[in-house]
Amino acid sequence: MWSVLISLAMALLAAGQTSAPVATGVVTGRVVDAATGEPIPGAIVSLSRVQPSPGAGRTSAAVPAESAVLRSLTNQTNVNGAFEIAGVPSGRWRVQVLKDGYVAFGATSSHVIEVGGGVVRVRDVQIDRGGAIEGRVRDARGTPMVRVSVLAMQQLRNRDGTVQLTSGASGQTNDLGEFRVSGLAPGLYVVLAEPPTSFVNPFTGGSPTAAATSHVRTVYPGSFDVAQPSPVTVSRGGTTTGIDFSMLSVRSYQVFGVVVDTEGRPVGGAVVWLVQARPPLPAIVYQASPSALDGTFLVVNVPEGTYSAQAAIPLVTRNANGGISASVRGGRAGGPGSVEVVVWGANLEGLRLVATPP
C-alpha cells in the first residue's frame, strides 16, 4: 500500500524548462501523535493532486521523459516531525501521511490544501496509533511457518448491505511463525495467510522443489475463501491477539509447456505466469522459472483450478554498476496473449504460450 500511495503522488517535473514556467509553492508542516502530541520522526508525507474533474489530464501527461527529473512530491519528517515539500505546482493537493503502527492518514479523507505561489504551512497533522492483530501460523503438523505473508483486509458494509473488502495492511511471520499486522483503523478484518514468499527470482530463475502437496492461501480460521468469513474485531488502538491458525495444503501438480514467438519459434528467458482471479481477494499467481533456451518451462506446485496462463519477454537493462534490472508487463488474469488452462487431477503437459514482447 505504501508504494501505491507514494506513486499516487508522483509527478514529473521538467528540469529547467523555461518555455512554460509553472508557479510552484512550498508546503511545510509537522506530524504529531493525535493522543500524545509527540512529534513523529520518519513519517512519509506525500501530496496527491485533487483532480478538478475526472479526465482533466494527469500531471505527468505532457512531460517529455528523457529530459525530466523524476520527482515525487514526497518528504520524510525529521527528528522534530517536520516536513517540507518544495516545487509543488499550483492547485489543490491532498496531504497523506504514512507511518508504521499508525492509521494511514488522508487516503480517503478530505485533508486538502490549496497551493499558490508561496509557502503553505499545514497545521499539525495529527495521526492515530492504529490497532493490531497478532497470532501464529503453523503447518498441519504444528511446525511454525516462517516467512508467511499475513494480510488483514477491512470488511466494510456498503449502504445497500453488500460487503466489500479493502486492501489492508500486512505482516510477515518470524522464525516462530508469529505475525503482527499493525496500523489498523478500528473495524472488522478478514485475515488471510499467503504461502511463504518465494526466494526465487522470477527473472533470473531458480524454482521451488516440486512436491505432491503445497500450501495454499488460508483465510482465518481455516478456509480456502471468504464465503463464510469469520472476521476479527480490532478496537481503536487495541491489539487483538491469539489469531492462530494452520495453513491448508492441497494436492499440487506441475505444468509443463513451451514459449514461442508469433512465428512459432521457441523463446528463451520468458517469464511465465498462471494467474487465478479470486475477487474480492487478491489474485493468486504461480510463476515459472524463466523459459529455457529451447522455450520449455515448468511451473511447480500448482493446485487444481482454472488459470489464465501467459508468457512475456522481460525488458532487461544493465546499469553502469554491472547490475541488471528487468521489468515485464502482464501478470493479470485475462491479459494479452493469455490462455485459459485447467489443472485437474494430473500434471499438465504441452501448454503452448505466445510471448508478449517487451
Binding site: S60, T74, T77, N80, F83, N174, G206, A211, T317, N321
Partner: protein, 386 residues
C-alpha cells in the same frame, strides 16, 4: 540381532532413497550439458527435515582451490583504508547463471536444483531462525553433465536468539531501525577487527526486534537509524534539524570498543536488549554538480555514501536544481564517498521507471571522499557518465 533403532534408521534411509528416485523420475527437458543436484536439509539438533530453506549453488569452485576457502584478512576498522584500485566487475551473465541455481526445500526437506553446469559446486542453505551452513559443513558436489547427484544431508543449527527494543531520544519506540550483532577483536591502539555477526533485522512499529539464528558466542548489538524511505532517485530530503540519529551500540554508545557484550547461547533467547538511538549533530552539505567540462548539471542525484566503520548502510541523497546546486540535509559527522549521476528515465508502455547508475564511483576507493565535521558548502561533484 537388529535393534529397533537400527530398523528405524534403515527405514529412514530407504525412505530417503525413494524420495530421491521420485525426484529423478520427474526429470524433464534437462538443458544439454547440465545435470541436477538433489539433497535434503535437516535440523542439526532434532534431525527433522526443514521446509522452506533457500538452497543455492556457489561456485563453480576451482578443483585446485582449498576448501573451505581461505578468507582474505578483514582490514581493521576504525582507520581509513588506503584507496586501492578495485577489482574488475564480474561479467553480469555469470550473475544470472548463479541466481538461476536456486531452490527451496519442500515439506520433507528435499530440494532439487536443475540445469547445473559441469563443475564443482558448493551447496549453501539459509533459513530464518537457523545459522546458514558455512565452512566444512557446506557440501561440495562435482557435477557431470546429464547426471542427477545427491548432496550429503545439510544440517542446520538454530543457534541463539536476541530480542529487544529501540527507542528515540524522547523515549518513543522507533520503527525500521536496522539492528544486527557484530563480533570483533579489540586491537592495540583502539582499533577493532570485525570477525563475524548476525544478519540485519528491522524494528517493528513498537520498536521491537528479534535476531534469530545467531552464532553462539560473544556479540555486540548495533543499531543504525532507519534508511531514507524515499526512493533513491528521489531528491527530496527532510528539512534540516539540529540533530539526527547516529549509529548506536547497546547499551547506548557511539564507540564500538565501549559497547557491552551480549552472550548468545545455543537454543536460548536473550531478551531485554533495550536501548535508545543516540542523537548526534546534523549538518548540511551543499555544492554544485558539474559535468566533465565544468558546466552545471541539473536534475542530478548527489549521493553521500558513508565510509565510516558501522555507518548506516544506506546513502543520503539530494537532487540538483536548474543551476546544478544541491543540498543534503541532516548529515551526521563522518567520511563519505561523494558521487552524482543523472537518472535515466524509461517508459515501458504507460509505466515510467528510472534507473540511477554511478558507474565505478559507487565502489569504495573510487569516488572522492569528503569528511564532514560541520555545515559544508561549495563542494564540486562531477557527474558520472551514463
Amino acid at each position: 540381532m537388529l535393534s529397533y533403532g537400527r530398523i528405524v534408521a534403515a527405514m529412514v534411509v530407504l525412505l530417503v532413497n525413494l524420495l530421491v528416485v521420485a525426484l529423478a523420475a520427474g526429470a524433464q527437458s534437462l538443458t544439454p550439458g547440465t545435470g541436477r543436484i538433489v539433497g535434503r536439509v535437516v535440523d542439526a539438533e532434532t534431525g527433522a527435515p526443514v521446509a522452506g530453506v533457500r538452497v543455492y549453488l556457489s561456485g563453480p569452485v576451482s578443483p585446485t582451490a582449498p576448501w573451505p576457502p581461505v578468507l582474505p584478512p578483514v582490514p581493521p576498522q576504525g582507520r581509513q583504508t588506503p584507496a586501492t584500485p578495485p577489482p574488475p566487475l564480474p561479467d553480469p551473465s555469470i550473475f544470472v547463471i548463479l541466481q538461476r541455481l536456486t531452490s527451496e526445500t519442500r515439506a520433507d526437506g528435499m530440494f532439487e536444483i536443475r540445469d547445473v553446469p559441469n563443475g564443482r559446486w558448493a551447496v549453501v542453505a539459509q533459513k530464518e531462525g537457523f545459522i546458514a551452513n558455512r565452512g566444512l559443513s557446506v557440501p561440495l558436489v562435482e557435477m557431470v553433465a546429464g547426471r542427477t547427484l545427491t548432496a550429503s544431508d545439510i544440517r542446520l543449527d538454530r543457534g541463539g536468539v536476541v530480542t529487544g527494543r529501540v527507542f528515540d531520544a524522547r523515549g518513543n519506540p522507533m520503527s525500521r531501525v536496522q539492528v544486527r550483532t557484530t563480533q570483533f577483536d579489540k586491537l592495540p591502539g583502539g582499533t577493532i577487527r570485525t570477525t563475524g555477526g548476525s544478519s540485519t533485522v528491522e524494528t517493528d512499529d513498537r520498536g521491537e526486534f528479534r535476531l534469530s539464528g545467531v552464532q553462539p558466542g560473544v556479540h555486540y548489538v548495533v543499531a543504525q537509524p532507519p534508511p531514507q524511505m524515499i526512493r533513491l532517485i528521489d531528491g527530496t530530503t527532510p528539512p534540516q534539524a539540529p540533530t539526527t540519529y547516529g549509529t548506536t551500540f547497546y547499551p547506548g554508545l557511539a564507540d564500538a570498543a565501549a559497547a557491552s557484550p551480549v552472550t548468545v547461547v545455543r537454543g536460548k533467547t536473550t531478551n531485554g536488549i533495550d536501548f535508545s538511538l543516540l542523537s548526534v549533530p546534523a549538518y548540511q552539505v551543499s555544492g554544485v554538480v558539474v559535468d566533465a567540462g565544468g558546466r552545471p548539471v541539473a536534475g542530478a542525484i548527489v549521493r553521500l555514501a558513508p565510509r565510516m566503520p558501522f555507518a548506516p548502510a544506506s546513502p543520503m541523497s539530494a537532487a540538483s536544481d536548474s543551476n546544478g546546486r544541491f543540498r543534503v540535509t541532516n548529515v551526521p559527522a563522518g567520511t563519505y564517498g561523494l558521487m552524482a549521476a543523472v537518472p535515466r528515465v524509461t517508459r515501458n508502455g504507460g509505466a515510467i521507471s528510472a534507473g540511477l547508475g554511478f558507474g565505478d564511483a559507487a565502489r569504495p576507493g573510487v569516488a572522492p571522499e569528503v569528511t564532514i565535521q560541520g555545515d559544508t558548502d561549495n563542494l564540486r561533484v562531477v557527474a558520472s557518465q551514463p
